[in-house]
C-alpha cells in the first residue's frame, strides 16, 4: 500500500503575522472500509488512514481521528493561524503502521 500513497498539500507561500490561512490537504489512498466483499463473497479487510495531524513549528493546528466513513483519497480543508515564519508539518497514520509526511514552509510577507 505504501508505494502509491501521495500526499498533496496546498499552503500559501507567504502570510502576514497573525493571519488566518486556508490549508487544503489531499492524500491518495483507497480507504478500504472493511464493508465491501470481493467476487467470492469474502469481506475485504479494512485498510484506512486512521489519523491525520497538522502542526506548525511543533504546535498543533488540527488533529483528526478518521474512521471508515471517510472517502477514498481523504481531503481536508481547514484554517491555520500563522504567528511567525515557519514550517507546517502534515502527518497521516495508516492502519498498517505506515506514516506519511509532508512539510510546507511559509514566509512572512
Amino acid at each position: 500500500m505504501a508505494d502509491d500513497v501521495k500526499p498533496r498539500v496546498k499552503v500559501p507561500k507567504s502570510a502576514a503575522v497573525g493571519e488566518k490561512i486556508v490549508v487544503k490537504t489531499l492524500i491518495s489512498h483507497k480507504m478500504e472500509s472493511g464493508q465491501r466483499k470481493d467476487a467470492d463473497g469474502n469481506v475485504i479487510a479494512r485498510s484506512i488512514i486512521n489519523r491525520f495531524t497538522c502542526d506548525f513549528n511543533g504546535e498543533n493546528v488540527v488533529d483528526v481521528k478518521m474512521e471508515a466513513a471517510i472517502s477514498t483519497n481523504p481531503y481536508f480543508e481547514f484554517e491555520a493561524m500563522v504567528p511567525e515564519a515557519g514550517e507546517f508539518k502534515f502527518t497521516w497514520y495508516d492502519d498498517d503502521g505506515s506514516v506519511y509526511e509532508d512539510t510546507k514552509t511559509i514566509a512572512i510577507a
Binding site: 498543533n60 483528526v64 481521528k65 472517502s71 481531503y75
Partner: protein
Amino acid sequence: MELTRRNAMAMGAGALLIAGLPVRLSAAGEDAIAAFTGGAEVGTGDVRLIAPEIAENGNTVPIEVGSDTASEILVLAMGNPTPGVATFKFGPLSGSRTASARIRLAGTQDVVAIAKLQDGTFVQASSTIKVTIGGCGG
C-alpha cells in the same frame, strides 16, 4: 404456501426483524454519542453542519463542520454500518474552528455533528442527506 397459523407466525417474526434493524443501527450511533459526551446532556447552539440536501454519490459527500468555541467536533453518520465518521480536535494554532471533508454515506440518513465547547458542554446539529447511490459497495 398455505396460510396456516405457523406460517403467519413466521411472517410476523420476519417483519419484526426487518422493522427492528434500523433501531439497532441507530443504537450504535447513540452509543458513539454517549462515549463522546460521557452521558452529558447534548443541547443545541454553537455548532454548524453544512451538507448538501441531496448527494448523488454516497461515496464522496462534501460536508463542513464549524463552531466558534468548540475544542472538538464529532461527526456521525447515523445510518452507516459503523456510525463513526471523524473527530476533529482543534489545536492552539487553528485559525477558525471549521473543517471540511468528504465522507461516505450508505444511504439516505441523518448526519450529526456534536461539538464539545470550551466550557465543557456539548451541542449538536444534524442534517438529513438524501443519497441516490449508496457508498458501501454492496
